[in-house]
Symmetry: none
DNA sequence: AATGAATGAGTGTTCATTCAT
DNA sequence: AATGAATGAACACTCATTCAT
């Protein structure tokens, strides 16, 4: 009732996450996913109409989890600096807990296979980020930059850090150091 | 018979750059490249023994050009800040002039198809970057961070910017703003 | 659902035997075999990893059957002449029952595609023949020839006969006549 | 004017003989022949319209030479035994002088690529042989066998010998021994 | 006359998808 | 519901043939 009685759909998604992240969409064969999931090839098609649909279900699942985790509301009144730190800790926390999923999300962020729903999910993330930066600019705490630029810089830095983690595990000092760097990057200096 | 008569090898490389960047290695079919290049399928194999060899020739060509352009020596005595700006301007300059190539390089930085020579070319780039940051840390101008972390943050931010450029052309103000952000990110503050 | 339901692997082997014998290894395309077998092209690769493996499976199967049939032990005490006749009848019997297979074996006796196992199977056949002739020479019943020469002459004559059968079916008188010729060829005359 | 000034057609035929004998018709690529002949690929098509035509020209050339050499008239009045020995020596002589060509002829004796002219050349050879055996049967010197059978046995034995030569050079004793065997095979015994 | 770069139909092989069980 | 054998379109790659030079 715990591990043994897993839904096969879940087993398939788990195997697909692993393989798509390692080999990419085109480099991964459906029977390969089936074998890794321990199900028959045909079974995959009982849960997902096509390989693309499986891919989008997987992306949607993790992008949704990511958004839910990172974009949750903060206690009202939290400062820009506090929220920045919060976002940072959440993103890092998610990445440390789900490194495969995080790399999968990054790798396929612009994949041509993404459907409209998933594009919107990705966009929602950007919208929140843009709003946050706009607010920080308005309060004068952040540099007067186009929010998209700030978001891009933060996101890119984060992703590079995630990739780094595959080689060199991120310790608390590193994480805190990176946070300081990035806060210095965007805050307005005296 | 003059301008029309381009080397077919070059036409093939140009078409491959475009397609590999858009669709990735596994997502691009050799006949697709041939058609985009305006040559017969078989012709590709007169210039490159395999699809992998074509890929590596392409990567090597652009990684070489990138390294030559970005890593060229600076005038002696240039400050850390000056060199940081120099690197930044060169990287942005290259990216603006060759956006497809830059994205291609980023996308396949860790591709399993890269041969040893190309892996070394990629490494050379990282070595120079690491050395630069170590020096800046030693002079006390940069934050005391592991150089790999600093490099990762810079590189990731740059790549995010490159991707952004596909959507929103980078103006001078944006470039300068990003440079200021990143310098603030790494420099030691009073 | 009974007789119609043949193993596809067998259908493939049967079609391949026919085509390899008529057209040789390089002259036979895998889709051609598939069509002759009445299966899809891809199906062949569910049974045999490569064309070479199919070829070797086919060769091994028939060389094994041939050896089992022809090289079976004789009742002890049987004379050289008796054994010669026995071998002859078995070889002819096999060839009449499996003419395609026999020609296939002859055609590919020295094929570069044969794997080690099959080379050994071919060699085993020659070893028995050499031993038989050596024994006949030792008893004084056969001419004092190098066994390899005698084996070559016999084998060559047999194969020519097999090819002849494709044009002119072998009757009992012909078979007996040929046996008499060949026995006269190798026996020591007064 | 001797070796340097060879006709390119001859160079091509010589290279083709070598490769067809080693690799078969389907296993040999036209550019491979061109390279072995030291000419350009296109040049082959100035001498032979297609690969098949080259093959047939080659076969015709050697089959013609073989027939001319082996089937030449004997001095009138030569006995059956004498003529048998004559044929044998000529066949062996040709094979020793032109081992590649002999194996090439044997290998492609029944090739599907042979044109009508070449089929007739092969047939002429069989006709002479058949006539010879029929005459020997008529004089009572040879066993009363269908000539085709006798010819098949002789030809097969010869070819086996030729193949043997590739492994174990034929000495005079071997050749004479084989001749004795084969004469014993066909002559009528007391 | 001679070439070899160029080609596209054809090769061996893979894989997303189907379907009888 | 679950399977995995079966498939054929598509893949990477080859080669007989052509043709501009």
């Amino acid at each position: 009732m715990t591990i043994l009685k897993q839904d096969k759909g879940e087993l398939i998604l788990a195997a697909a996450l692993d393989l798509f992240e390692k080999q990419g969409f085109d480099g991964t064969a459906v029977p390969e996913i089936a074998e890794a999931a321990g199900v028959g090839t045909g079974t995959i098609y009982r849960y997902f109409a096509t390989k693309e649909e499986l891919f989008n279900a997987l992306y949607g699942r993790w992008r949704g989890a990511y958004n839910d985790f990172v974009l949750a509301e903060f206690p009202p009144g939290l400062s820009i600096r506090g929220r920045f730190g919060g976002y940072w800790r959440r993103m890092i926390g998610f990445a440390k807990q789900h490194p495969h999923a995080t790399r999968f999300l990054e790798l396929h962020h612009h994949a041509p296979h993404l459907d409209e729903t998933n594009r919107e999910l990705s966009q929602r993330y950007l919208d929140v980020a843009n709003t946050f930066f706009a607010e920080g600019v308005a309060t004068g705490e952040l540099k007067d930059l186009p929010p998209r630029l700030a978001v891009a810089l933060m996101w890119g830095a984060l992703m590079a850090l995630i990739k780094l983690e595959a080689v060199m595990p991120l310790e608390e000092a590193t994480i805190a150091g990176a946070e300081a760097c990035l806060w210095d990057a965007i805050r307005k200096h005296a």
